[in-house]
């Protein structure tokens, strides 16, 4: 069972081929604003490094958000086109849950990803990664209120603070993420879409 994992949702581009608990290849680079140039090439490099033909992939997993709108669309477009061509459905992976799975703590965890202005994408999970607070686009004040209520272990993409709470930088543990998602529901390649959690500004303005 070979899984192709694609994450272009944040500053980091991660492409990996995983077979059970083995990493066949992993390419992970910080490259702001260059996802559109390198993501597809990295998929090719990952396949070549592992000596695997494009058609031998059994599972395609893609981080479909929340995160950078354009970034997410790059990964999702690659995944759905790839899935269509080899006739495999796609597993959508949450960027927020990926952080919690990678942190792997025996306590309540909050995943936090900065959005525009001083807003965040946020979610809270129990130790089995069930959502206690569902994924949402939230203001800084809302996030702090959630911290006050749950006192969670906070994972994020950078070491930082929010109010009096510490955000712990978390690197993605792709093997753990892939193994968590391996038996989760797959989505038809026509239907898989980015999980934006936020309307385009033009529609916000109309409300």
């Amino acid at each position: 069972m070979i899984s192709l994992f694609i994450d272009t949702s944040l500053v980091n581009v991660s492409i990996s081929l995983i077979k059970d608990n083995d990493v066949l290849s992993l390419i992970s680079e910080d490259m702001p604003n260059m996802h559109s140039i390198y993501a597809t090439k990295f998929v090719k490099d990952a396949l070549d490094n592992a000596g695997i033909d494009a058609n031998q992939v059994d599972n395609i997993m893609v981080v479909n958000g929340p995160g950078s709108f354009t970034g997410v669309r790059i990964g999702v477009t690659i995944a759905k086109t790839y899935g269509f061509l080899i006739n495999k459905y796609i597993t959508p992976v949450s960027s927020l849950k990926s952080l919690a799975i990678s942190a792997h703590k025996d306590e309540i965890m909050m995943s936090l990803i900065p959005a525009n202005k001083s807003n965040y994408y946020v979610s809270i999970y129990d130790k089995d990664y069930n959502e206690i607070v569902e994924e949402q686009f939230a203001s800084r004040d809302t996030v702090i209120q959630l911290c006050d209520k749950y006192n969670p272990y906070i994972v994020g993409v950078d070491t930082s603070v929010i109010g009096k709470y510490k955000i712990n930088k978390q690197k993605l543990d792709i093997v753990r993420i892939v193994n968590y998602y391996i038996d989760k529901e797959k989505v038809n390649y026509y239907k898989i879409l980015p999980n934006y959690l936020k309307l385009p500004q033009a529609l916000e303005d109309k409300k």
Binding site: K44, I78, A202
Partner: protein, 333 residues
């Protein structure tokens, strides 16, 4: 050679299969015009979101309708720019992924080259030629001595011609997109408004912001005085002046560059008055004049498939790092 072509530079997701640069096998286009109408123009983020919803559906429909499998395709051609960056990116990522999975070559196509080659689907281009490229983003006079060689001899200094049409339509209270409406109403009016001629000089450049501003000011002044605008007359007066200058400069370019062939390209190539005036002038001067059918004037992937064939013959092949670009000149100046 069968090329699968993808065009997604604005609000259309279009895919096509074109044989040897001249024969359209099948085209599937998903247009979003109704989605953007209520905003009075294309909203880039909404266009990008719609493209990603449609990209595999359009691809699937193209293969089903044409009866092709992906293995029968020899290469993939894709518009890489210019256009809306988020929109272009969906087409480019899709094309790169097809190239990655199938191992077929990837051909980068400039959007304007595509518009010019829309004419090649009607009749094989003959050289040397002058191409008049008129759209919402461009007003260029282009000289071509041979296939896939482009020399720009003149361009707009400010607004594109289609942009000026849309603006005039908007200020006259007409619906979006305004160009076709202005063209239609101009047939019903009289040339009564004293508007300036747009850059009527010895260069091959164009300028439409002056006449556009004159229309805007006239409409505002009249409305302040409580007078109604005669919309049909305004459309006639505007269109007459714009087309007169464009035709004049185009005919002069043909003479100076000793080109016996003229092709019209871009969205504004659908304008009936411009077509007629050019057609009359070319008849007088014994110039071969070609223009694409309406379906090939607006953004479509068939024209990209035609251009891609000649780009490929000229050695234009991209690797998987091909990027979408919002602004890009393809002229060899």
């Amino acid at each position: 050679m069968y090329i699968l072509a993808i065009e997604s530079s604005c609000d259309e997701m279009s895919m096509s299969i074109v044989k040897d640069g001249v024969e359209e096998i099948c085209t599937v286009t998903n247009t979003q015009i109704d989605i953007h109408k209520e905003f009075g123009g294309v909203v880039p983020e909404i266009a990008s979101r719609s493209h990603i919803e449609n990209v595999t559906i359009v691809l699937d429909e193209l293969l089903q309708r044409s009866g092709f499998t992906i293995d029968k395709i020899d290469a993939i051609g894709v518009t890489y720019g210019p256009g809306l960056i988020g929109s272009l990116m969906i087409g480019v990522q899709c094309a790169k992924t097809i190239s990655l999975v199938t191992g077929k070559p990837l051909i980068p196509v400039h959007h304007i080259a595509g518009h010019i080659y829309a004419n090649n689907l009607e009749k094989r281009l003959e050289f040397p030629l002058i191409a008049l490229v008129v759209s919402g983003g461009h007003t260029d006079l282009v000289y071509m001595g041979r296939d896939y060689s482009f020399k720009r001899i003149g361009s707009t200094l400010d607004d594109a011609i289609g942009e000026a049409y849309d603006k005039v339509a908007k200020v006259c209270g007409l619906s979006y997109p305004g160009g076709p409406v202005v063209d239609k109403l101009a047939k019903l009016g009289k040339d009564t408004y004293d508007l300036p001629y747009p850059l009527d000089d010895d260069s091959y450049d164009f300028s439409f912001s002056g006449i556009k501003s004159a229309v805007v000011n006239l409409v505002h002044n009249e409305s302040q005085r409580g007078n109604a605008i005669r919309v049909e007359d305004m459309c006639t007066s505007f269109q007459n002046r714009v087309v007169k200058v464009v035709v004049k400069k185009t005919m002069r370019a043909l003479k100076e560059y000793k080109a016996n062939n003229l092709v019209l390209a871009g969205g504004v190539a659908a304008n009936s008055y411009l077509r007629n005036e050019l057609s009359e002038a070319c008849k007088r001067e014994n110039i071969n004049f070609g223009y694409p059918r309406i379906a090939y004037c607006t953004d479509n992937a068939a024209m990209i498939g035609s251009a891609a064939y000649y780009a490929y013959k000229n050695g234009k092949i991209a690797d998987l790092t091909l990027n979408a670009v919002a602004v890009e000149s393809f002229y060899n100046e």
